[in-house]
Symmetry: C2
Subunit: 392 residues, 2 copies
């Protein structure tokens, strides 16, 4: 196991009706003037935004609002949010929504206290040393941003999708009410489950030997999704299944199960170009990307893929031919995702074969790239092309 | 799943030679005058105490020392530590040792800022609202106190062993270097593994339905111990196995796998009387206690004990007779513990049949008790007697 530092100081407030405690938690963590940041109409229509406002009112905390966050959140709204916070003297950013809204909120929170262009944090020119405190009211189990110090933003000029990470961006508190996810359309629920599974696979695929404790924890969270995923697609109102998925989504990405080991993140990098270009959901892009990436990686990690196939997917271990078990596990993953309603290829995703050269170019050379991408393997443009073509 | 709040703000610094960062972390968390609190000679003989002092010196942080913590830490030394901190203007308590040293440090940290008798926190008369910041340099994977807000102290007058808990007692940082545990005698290593397993069983035995995510996480940590435990007994210098156990020990008790569900803790209550009376190690007491308690509980939780038997201990599920599977799992646990060198009955523990009435009396009526103890089941004196007698 490698040396590591693990620091997850977020206070998680979990369960029914917990959104009504938002105001009290803003006060506890020192907020006196709030930006409520959110996305589209669903948080308005569901009455969630009103409940959060009522909670802030009850705590005597004034606020301003900025809606309009889109999936794959854009830099334009971040600049707008930074200006608004400075103008209004905001000292706390409250995200009400999913991963996109939280990521946008983190970008605003970092940008407000930074003299330069906030994009510096995302293109690697600067590290986030400080940020306004952020709180979240989560509406979808997916990105894990509610428990992480990570944020991904798409720069409109060039459509570059890039991420940053810092302990300064970890939310002070995150309110997780599984009931809020019951009204999600099945496709969004399935996209979220896929994203959580991807966060687990990205940590599972490692060069580090002797990491039984984190292997077992990752497998535990995967098995939870394998059991509970189909249940929420079958019955969207199953609170208990929603609750298990929601806690798994946080645990999958606060990194308690990824510490002390090299990680992969090739699937995320390769997918990011798809959702940036086609504006598909991150999860649906991952559903198509993961089997292609894992099949490419398989010869370099046969026993690891056999292990997850056996322990999580219940594939019998073929001791004479572990590669057969490993392949069966990737097939089981793909079947599971398809069963949730996720796409399995470019056509179902709405991606186009003729765009592959452009995808590879942006992936490997965009925004300062040097022609390769790095993860469990280092991939050049030929390898990336092969992986995209495997998704056809 | 029940509503819950989960807050684990401790910064965990994990890996080789990390004790040399103690001074830097005290500074990061605001300490300017430190009490170094420790136990017996091993931290002195191993040179660990000198390395920690050198790290404080390098950071320019003055300190005072208080050694002498014993297993099942006593109230007398806590009073002494409180006085010392007040006299010397200490503003940070640094525990260098195992669970006993950390628990004693937490008691001192709470007591310094409290006007009354610190024992008020342990007998239920007061809640710890504030405490001096605590840091830890852990020397044994066992109690989980490095990541919890809990503390257990034995009051010398009457030998009452009682616990308290508060987020204010969670360490600011905990330094976990698995190499520091390599010099432990095998019996202490095994006691620690037993304690970790007990923390997991206490959370596993629940009345709460539909808790797949935390069930799976608990099982993951149990399976880690089942694999790695025998390896460290076989080869005490196996750093990788030590590392997996150490992270499992923290995760087992910071409660990330115990949230949203009722817990048991009958084994701990029943054991506490044994280690208080005989001064045996907490782990060896638990090794004798757990099989007796679980066998008593079994008829009330057949499928739960069958689940852990099947998933963790690899006992084949007997679909015609789940109780047989459940029993096989308890037997497998006992065999595992015995294989590590733990005792299996009163005689091997050094406990005496004739003390049972006294044990039951203290357990059920001591320090304000009402004649029963509560956990997964409510037990009266007859039930407690039956359980102690099953350990003969």
């Amino acid at each position: 196991m490698n040396n590591f530092v693990f620091y997850s100081p977020t206070c998680f407030v979990f369960g029914k009706e917990t959104e009504n405690q938002a105001g009290a938690y803003v006060t506890r963590f020192g907020g006196t003037k709030v930006l409520i940041h959110y996305g589209g109409g669903s948080v308005v229509r569901s009455g969630l935004l009103d409940r959060v406002k009522a909670s802030l009112d009850a705590a005597g905390i004034p606020y301003v609002e900025l809606g309009g966050v889109k999936p794959n959140p854009r830099s334009g709204l971040v600049y707008e949010g930074i200006e608004l916070c400075r103008r209004e003297g905001v000292d706390f950013v409250l995200a009400v929504g999913g991963g996109s809204t939280i990521d946008s909120s983190k970008a605003i929170a970092a940008g407000v206290l930074y003299d330069g262009d906030f994009w510096d944090f995302y293109c690697g020119k600067a590290h986030v040393a400080k940020a306004l405190p952020v709180g979240t009211v989560l509406t979808i189990a997916a990105a894990g941003s509610e428990g992480s110090g990570d944020s991904v933003i798409t720069k409109e000029e060039g459509m570059f999708k890039r991420g940053t990470g810092s302990d300064a961006l970890r939310p002070k508190f995150s309110i997780l009410n599984p009931a809020l996810t019951q009204t999600l359309p099945p496709f969004q629920t399935a996209s979220g489950i896929t994203d959580i599974l991807a966060h687990l696979y990205e940590r599972y695929i490692t060069h580090t030997q002797e990491v039984e404790v984190t292997d077992r924890m990752i497998e535990a969270l995967m098995m939870t999704l394998v059991k509970e995923g189909p249940r929420v697609i079958e019955d969207p109102n199953n609170y208990e299944a929603r609750a298990n998925i929601m806690w798994a989504g946080m645990m999958a990405h606060n990194n308690s199960c990824g510490v002390g080991r090299s990680q992969d993140w090739l699937s995320h990098q390769i997918e990011h170009e798809l959702s940036a270009l086609y504006d598909c959901s991150h999860g649906s892009g991952l559903a198509v990307t993961m089997p292609a990436v894992f099949s490419y990686e398989l010869p370099h990690a046969v026993m690891r893929f056999a292990q997850v196939a056996n322990r999580v997917w219940g594939c019998p271990m073929d001791f004479a031919n572990p590669e057969a078990t490993a392949k069966a596990g990737i097939k089981a993953l793909q079947n599971f995702l398809t069963g949730l309603g996720m796409p399995r290829n470019f056509a179902e995703l709405g991606a186009k074969e003729e765009d592959i050269p452009k995808l590879v170019e942006t992936l490997c050379y965009g925004d300062g790239g040097n022609g390769t991408i790095g993860g469990f393997l280092t991939l050049d443009t030929a390898a990336c092309t092969e992986i995209y073509r495997a998704m056809l």
